[in-house]
């Protein structure tokens, strides 16, 4: 009987169960970053890394217990204190990079702060090194392979207009001056750095700082670029702009297409085959309150509208473990949404019956409207009580971070 009901559910795409709150944790201050889930210590369990505006990094085990906590103890001079918001001095503004930059089989945690410092922690929360810059670091840290060497380098941008390239030990390799502040996360592709700046330029530089190309957008760029492959195998870059557009550029900086939304794009898109059609799709949220799923050619497949801004990066996972991918997104409307990857085809009128009755959208034998549209298909919604910054998924658990500092563990439960 169970098998039969599973078959019926699969055929008709009926989802079962509900989302329940498993646990919540109060950080005691605001948080600006989405949770990151990674196995940082090779113990086959996925940890959740949370940061906050006090400059704390808290790592939770899979069973929601605190594994360790690191707090920045930055002394601020009296002079600096006059200009800084004490509460925000050590604020971590972007989610940390989790990578094995030391190449020792364990992962390290790297992040920048409002005070302008970059920290590297080991998997137990012990500080390995810190690097100081002069201005706030608002973007993320990235790693790259140093040319003709086995070593990994670290790259980040700062509001002091510099791009910093550090060794894995935290030593400055090079700093490259840009003509505008940098709040985006730079990436390195084939020894070329790609990043966006606050003057709205997307730039490609070689590692010595020589400009390969520049692409001008209409507003600043704060999101990270994504290096991806189009369906025909050509390489491309996807990057969102505060000018409401998602840009797809060739590695030579030529515009392939742009997709316009009605709100700013603050985080990077996710590229994955979410509807099981054998082709990758692009999933991203916008401050127009919508989550978009578009093809690699920039055509919209579906969107889903929430009641307020979407700031965080979407998560694409099979949260109910039924073999089909779901899209999980948090919104400033205080809710977390779980949507099917495939969307749902909504019929606006049944074609072919105009000879019997008229319908809104179809009044004659000549079709002048599309019969339907693919739209976002919400399965579950959960009210978190706060502005949702971002979320992550471990197996059937959704970890939600609210701006007010609440971390929630939601759990998908098979219903009867």
């Amino acid at each position: 009987m169970n098998k039969l009901s599973k078959i019926i559910r699969n055929v008709f795409g009926i989802k079962k169960g509900k989302i329940n709150l498993l646990k919540s944790f109060d950080l005691g201050c605001e948080s600006l970053t989405q949770p990151i889930c990674e196995d940082i210590d090779n113990d086959s369990e996925t940890e959740t890394i949370i940061t906050n505006t006090k400059g704390e990094v808290i790592v939770f085990s899979e069973n929601q217990e605190i594994k360790w906590k690191y707090a920045i103890k930055e002394k601020v001079s009296e002079q600096d204190a006059m200009f800084l918001d004490e509460e925000r001095t050590n604020s971590i503004n972007h989610y940390p990079l989790i990578a094995d930059i030391e190449q020792n089989g364990k992962k390290q945690i790297l992040f920048g702060t409002e005070f302008g410092k970059v920290y590297a922690l080991d998997h137990n929360g012990k500080q390995i090194w810190a690097y100081t810059t002069e201005h706030p670091i608002r973007g993320g840290i990235n790693n790259f392979k140093i040319k003709e060497s086995k070593n990994t380098g670290i790259i980040f941008g700062s509001t002091d207009k510099y791009l910093y390239l550090l060794s894995s030990k935290g030593k400055l390799l090079r700093k490259l001056l840009n003509d505008a502040q940098i709040e985006s996360t730079p990436i390195v592709i084939n020894n070329n750095i790609i990043f966006g700046d606050n003057k709205g330029k997307i730039k490609s530089l070689d590692l010595k700082g020589k400009i390969n190309w520049t692409f001008q957008t209409k507003d600043k760029i704060v999101s990270k670029a994504i290096h991806t492959k189009m369906n025909d195998g050509t390489e491309a870059i996807l990057i969102g702009g505060v000018d409401n557009n998602l840009y797809c550029l060739s590695l030579e900086g030529k515009l392939i297409w742009k997709f316009e939304t009605q709100g700013a794009l603050y985080t990077e898109p996710v590229v994955l085959d979410i509807n099981d059609d054998g082709l990758n799709e692009i999933v991203f949220g916008s401050a127009d309150g919508k989550i978009y799923v578009i093809t690699m050619q920039g055509n919209q497949l579906w969107n889903y509208e929430t009641d307020f801004w979407i700031i965080g990066k979407p998560v694409t996972k099979d949260v109910d473990q039924d073999g089909a991918m779901e899209v999980i997104i948090g919104s400033y409307d205080n809710n977390i949404y779980v949507l099917t990857g495939k969307g749902i085809y909504i019929i606006e009128y049944v074609p072919g019956v105009s000879g019997i009755i008229a319908q809104n959208g179809s009044y004659s034998d000549i079709p002048s409207n599309t019969p339907g549209e693919l739209i976002g298909d919400k399965i579950w919604e959960y009210g978190t009580g706060g502005l949702v910054i971002g979320c992550a998924v471990i197996k059937n658990k959704i970890i939600v971070q609210t701006k007010e500092g609440k971390v929630l563990w939601l759990h998908h439960e098979e219903g009867k």
Partner: protein, 439 residues
């Protein structure tokens, strides 16, 4: 404060949803009681010739398409008040009162005028209402509601068609004299069945328009200059871009042909069935009602089949399959004219075929075009179809007048197989190429 505001918004949303739900269903009752087939039969009772009936149906489609594209442009540039939607609904409702009058006094040209007025009303009403839904409602929520009511609505419309047939058959063309005793006063009135059904339609749309006027929304103010000449030039230019895609080009060509064949089949089938089987089976209008209400229910599975089969066999076989099904009705009428059950089955399969073609067109355009281009494609291909459509429909109506309906149905059935099926086969061949870039 913000929380209170949101709560209030939610209450308004729920109220609007309830009003819209009622409106959706009232519209379906209205559409059901004014089935195209009944209108055509009653049109023939005014003494209209086959040529006039076919031509009027063609002009009706022409006007609907023209108005639909025209309104899309207006709503892009101007904010249309909710009142205009309500008023166009009211006008559409009242046009049925004029239609009834035309039948009573047997005035075919008044019937033509009322029908065309009604078609302007329905396209304006439907198009403006759809635009309103897209602009002002949380799309996902209302679209789901609209989609659910589309399916449920077809059942309501099917029931309305049967009920309308029962009413018309009960008190037919000559009317039925009814004596009512009110407070000792005896009133004798000749009641016409079609008068009752058309009045039900009129009231359904009048109430529906009233309910819509109660929907609470904050409309934006938007006034931009409209250059219609420029707009239609853009549509023509856009179509040049679309037609560079061979799939869209062939799809438009076949769409024109299918529209012509469907328009002619729909103009005359109801009349043919009514005339030939008037005294057989369920009799009069009920034969037509059962035949078409069943087809409505069968048509519902068209989009479902397309979406399910699309994943395994692709979209293109749907075109060929749908077209072959479409030819079933005219050929059955020609080769088995007095067999009602065969006609019922053939009609259901034909309507299913048309539903499959329409759904496949929607899915194909969704695959190769962005959402905005998709709407432009439908507008521009619909607009460009108008001239060839009118020429071919006029030709078909002329054949009906000069050679009779059986001859026309033979041409239509064979025309679908000879002209449309090969076009879709062409798409199948392209799609089966490994280098296919569209499907």
């Amino acid at each position: 404060m913000e929380k209170e505001g949101r709560e209030e918004e939610k209450v308004i949303d729920k109220r609007n949803e309830r009003l819209l739900k009622k409106k959706f269903y009232l519209d379906k009752i209205g559409y059901g009681f004014s089935s195209t087939q009944f209108i055509n039969i009653l049109f023939s009772f005014t003494g209209a010739s086959f040529f006039l009936i076919g031509l009027t149906n063609g002009i009706k489609s022409f006007l609907n398409t023209l108005i639909s594209t025209f309104i899309k442009e207006i709503t892009e540039k101007r904010e249309i008040s909710k009142k205009v939607i309500s008023i166009s609904g009211l006008l559409f409702g009242f046009s049925f009162i004029l239609l009834s009058l035309a039948v009573v006094i047997k005035q075919p040209y008044l019937f033509v005028a009322s029908l065309l007025l009604g078609s302007i009303g329905v396209a304006t009403y439907g198009e403006l209402f759809n635009n309103f839904l897209n602009k002002y409602s949380k799309k996902g929520k209302i679209q789901r509601l609209s989609s659910k009511s589309t399916f449920k609505g077809l059942f309501i419309a099917a029931a309305s068609i049967i009920l309308a047939a029962a009413i018309i058959d009960l008190a037919f063309l000559e009317g039925k004299i009814i004596t009512i005793n009110i407070l000792g006063q005896t009133l004798t009135q000749n009641i016409y069945g079609y008068l009752i059904t058309f009045e039900i339609t009129a009231f359904a749309f009048i109430i529906s328009s009233y309910l819509f006027s109660k929907v609470k929304i904050k409309q934006e103010s938007l006034i931009q200059a409209i250059d219609y000449k420029q707009y239609y030039l853009i549509l023509i230019n856009k179509s040049k871009t679309f037609f560079k895609n061979k799939y869209l080009l062939v799809m438009t060509m076949s769409m024109i042909l299918v529209s012509v064949f469907q328009s002619l089949i729909n103009s005359y089938t109801g009349i043919y069935v009514y005339t030939h089987l008037k005294n057989a089976w369920l009799g009069g209008f009920m034969n037509v009602a059962i035949m078409y209400s069943l087809a409505l229910i069968v048509a519902i599975i068209g989009p479902v089949i397309t979406s399910k089969i699309n994943k395994t066999v692709g979209i293109v076989p749907m075109f060929v399959f749908g077209t072959l099904l479409l030819s079933m009705l005219p050929l059955t009428i020609v080769y088995n004219p007095m067999h009602y059950p065969a006609m019922v089955v053939a009609n259901s399969l034909s309507v299913l075929g048309a539903a499959l073609i329409g759904s496949a067109q929607g899915t194909l355009s969704a695959k190769v075009l962005s959402a905005k281009d998709r709407q432009n494609f439908y507008s521009s291909s619909g607009f460009l179809s108008l001239i060839p459509f009118m020429i071919l429909v006029t030709g078909g109506a002329y054949i009906a007048q000069t050679h009779g309906l059986s001859y026309l149905f033979k041409i239509l059935g064979l025309g679908i197989i000879i002209l449309v099926v090969p076009l879709y086969f062409l798409i199948v061949l392209w799609a089966s190429d490994k280098g296919s870039d569209a499907i």
